[in-house]
Amino acid sequence: MARLTIDDLKKIKEKQKSTFALREGGYRAKVTVHMGTCGIAAGAREIMTSLLDEIEKSKVEDVITTTSGCAGLCAREPMVTVEILNKPPVKYGDLDGEKIREIFKEHVLGGNPVEKYALVVGSETTY
């Protein structure tokens, strides 16, 4: 059985409701981790858990994460796409747990793309 009790969930609900009301519903940044078979085999899950860890530590409420499939550049996995509201998306490749933490601090929080890890700037369809 799960050990999560109704009381635990109520506590989360109360805490979150207060911050929730402050938000206007929209998200400022979205980070997409490429989670195809190639990405997962290359370490995409660690990229995502590092991101979730950074989001928790930095207490930001307006960053969401999601996954996509293979973008056709399997040799450059693990890859992520960072989209900041009203800015062109930036794709990063050959990542690891440390690099994604740097990208999170510099680009997602600071707004400055990390050029040395970037592959491409601009829109591209992912499948």
């Binding site: 799960a2 989360i12 979150q16 409701k17 928790e56």
Partner: protein
């Protein structure tokens, strides 16, 4: 793939591509029966007969941007290397269920790996999907139903850091407490 929890993440991502709204992940570790069994089932769009025939072919994919489809062939191979197998049931429009099993103590069986990470990554990246996770280790059963948690949380998104942390801690506490059950 290094371990089975990564395969589970990979197969569950297929369910998401198939537009599932509910995904069940059921793991059984039974040392008395000497079996490790994993079942991933969804209510996505399913496969037609033509697609189903080609699903074990590593050079078949439904995606236009690539030429290989390695997810299922790799998992099937991992299972067959340790006296197990992989079986798929699918119906167009209804969903797909994948069942894979392994000889538990086979020397070549991949470790299960960090299943907690797989679950939180799935929930955090797809907060709208109803995941049902069940994990049995001999006599101890763990179950997590995202749809029930969502109702209880009443509007708080499932990808809130607090919710994710709770789920992660809950799973790892159960895993630690049941580790000696597999001896």
């Amino acid at each position: 793939m290094k371990d089975l929890s990564l395969h589970i993440l990979d197969i569950a991502e297929n369910s998401i591509t198939a537009e599932a709204s509910e995904i069940k992940i059921k793991i059984i570790e039974d040392t008395r029966e000497n079996i490790l069994s994993i079942e991933i089932s969804d209510n996505g769009k399913g496969m037609d007969e033509e697609t189903m025939k080609k699903v074990f072919d590593p050079f078949f994919t439904t995606k236009a941007c690539k030429r290989t489809g390695l997810g299922i062939p790799l998992l099937a191979q991992s299972a067959r290397e340790c006296n197990g197998d992989l079986d798929i049931k699918t119906e167009k429009g209804k969903g797909t269920a994948i069942h894979v099993f392994f000889q538990y103590d086979h020397i070549d069986r991949k470790p299960l790996g960090n299943i907690g990470d797989t679950i939180i990554v799935l929930v955090a990246s797809h907060p709208g999907i109803d995941f049902i996770f069940e994990h049995r280790r001999n006599d101890s059963l763990y179950s997590l139903n995202i749809s029930e948690i969502r109702q209880e949380l009443d509007g708080v998104p499932m990808n809130s850091p607090d919710v994710i942390k709770f789920i992660k801690d809950d799973i790892s506490a159960w895993l630690i407490s049941t580790d000696n059950m597999l001896q």
